[in-house]
Symmetry: C2
Subunit: 348 residues, 2 copies
Amino acid sequence: MENVKVVIWGFGAMGSGMAKMLLKKKGVEIVGVCDRNEARIGKSMYEVLGMDRENRPEVIINPNIDEVLTEGSCDVCLCATDSFTKAAFPRLKQALEKKVNVISTAEEMAYPKAQNPELAAELDRIAKENGVSILGTGINPGLMMDLLVVCLTGCMVDVEHIEAKRVNSLSPFGPAVMEEQGVGITVEEFDKGVSEGTLAGHVGFHESVGMIADAIGWKVDKFEQQMKPIVTTIDRKSPYGFAAAGNVAGVNMTGQGWVDGEVKIDMIHPQQIEPEMEGTETGDYIVIQGTPPINMANRPEVEGGLGTIAMCVNMIPHVINANPGLKTMLDLPVPRAIMGDMRELIQR
Amino acid sequence: MENVKVVIWGFGAMGSGMAKMLLKKKGVEIVGVCDRNEARIGKSMYEVLGMDRENRPEVIINPNIDEVLTEGSCDVCLCATDSFTKAAFPRLKQALEKKVNVISTAEEMAYPKAQNPELAAELDRIAKENGVSILGTGINPGLMMDLLVVCLTGCMVDVEHIEAKRVNSLSPFGPAVMEEQGVGITVEEFDKGVSEGTLAGHVGFHESVGMIADAIGWKVDKFEQQMKPIVTTIDRKSPYGFAAAGNVAGVNMTGQGWVDGEVKIDMIHPQQIEPEMEGTETGDYIVIQGTPPINMANRPEVEGGLGTIAMCVNMIPHVINANPGLKTMLDLPVPRAIMGDMRELIQR
């Protein structure tokens, strides 16, 4: 049986991380990489990864997706280029029209109907027309603050209130994340960034709340979210970030889903560098009031970068096996690590 | 749209618990109950449950399954009669041959191919022949020590070792469970019960280990399990159990799945009355070594009875929607609570 063939579109931290993971797995190969970063164009993927090519065919990083992604060139395209459905849409459409399955890292693509129902319907139509499927996933949205919540409600007779909290460290991340999350800036600069929409914060609460509510049959009649600075009282330093005492060490995102006039879903997601320096213990927490109640903690938190890389790669067989159309994590079997030969998981 | 129609076969703690849960849900109705317990035969299901019938049609408990379960009588049969696949098989076969979908509480049915591959293949064949599907599920096996483990590996690049531990209290359970688990007997009686096979202990490690290993692509070359008494140092009393100091308060089950010559899956499941009296904190724990690692705790544990009831009822839409055949929790979308109208979840 032939290897599962993968094209990676976008070779930043996520795309290159997926490549490293794939190169350690059996029954799968990377047949093409598309990336527009000048520093990478024309180079060997193996050189960029700092990995030995061994006896594998060469893969040269190409900025032209039309040359990388052609009909029949691969089974799945991992698209790690965007955070927002609207921005990702033209690329996802192009990949689907080459009749390849697609997995997107775009946070909003984890549940695109939450904010872009028309684009979601259009992606579903295009995927079906071309006989392939498309999924958005990652660690969050994708697992820790939504799918895992849904899975745990599976053992509940009745659900009254859901709180999902993810307390994580930004210390492993690079300069781009430091800037997006406002690490090191003053509170005034932070407030200006929030009002002008230049600070990203966490993207995905709307999607996670929509996914949970639709899964268990709650109708969300209002969604709100807030973005507040985490102000440090001491100097904090991480490999790529520094926040002086009195300045911003990260972002505290909170969100609420209202059902029947009350908050039934609470999302809490503080992200900062060096949380331990002020006594914050990182972790993923799910507290569900109902019958029977759930009180889950995973400490420390699943590292965001690795988690997203793993989720996207591990969902490859499920996406290839799925019926054509736009899929969410709610539609497919539970995610799982791939420790065997990926070919054995494909229903040909 | 018509209500989802359910027949319940076996009206003990599990069957009657499912009935109570179903009666609080929208878009679903119980159309028949089969049970052979003399005390319940001929009585109204509502009377036995101690619930008001309101304007619902009467349901009389009938010992004759041929009268309760006929072709077209229901969408799904919840079969809560057995723990073992071999014992359940004739009943499951009979239900499938009436062309109704089946959900079984039998622990071994959570992954029947682990111990009864021929019966599993036979059930798959019969289900397909009759255009329906069959699933075994529950809280454990079914979720806490297997499916949840699998789900958490979904965010992992690499898995090295899995430990699933469920520390639970037997105090909510009745006299039958006290007897099966050896609560109150002496250590000598316990050892005799183990050697003669009269103590049930926990049924399901073989199934959970098989489910986890198959899901992530490990080949289990050896499975072992042990059953040891939990000896109390003080008198312990629960509503239906009593263990004097020096006697047995419960059972500690341990199991191991060997992969490539080493133990890669460890299962630990101590069950006892009044664990708190000797400082044991109940909970569900999953520790997975690998990249990134998982260190999950759910405290206290999900109550076994309620959890099994909820899992079976909540999987009804997934089982009705599934392609024909024998299914496991690995094949279907993640379980989820049903807080809305069940009819909206059925893909007609």
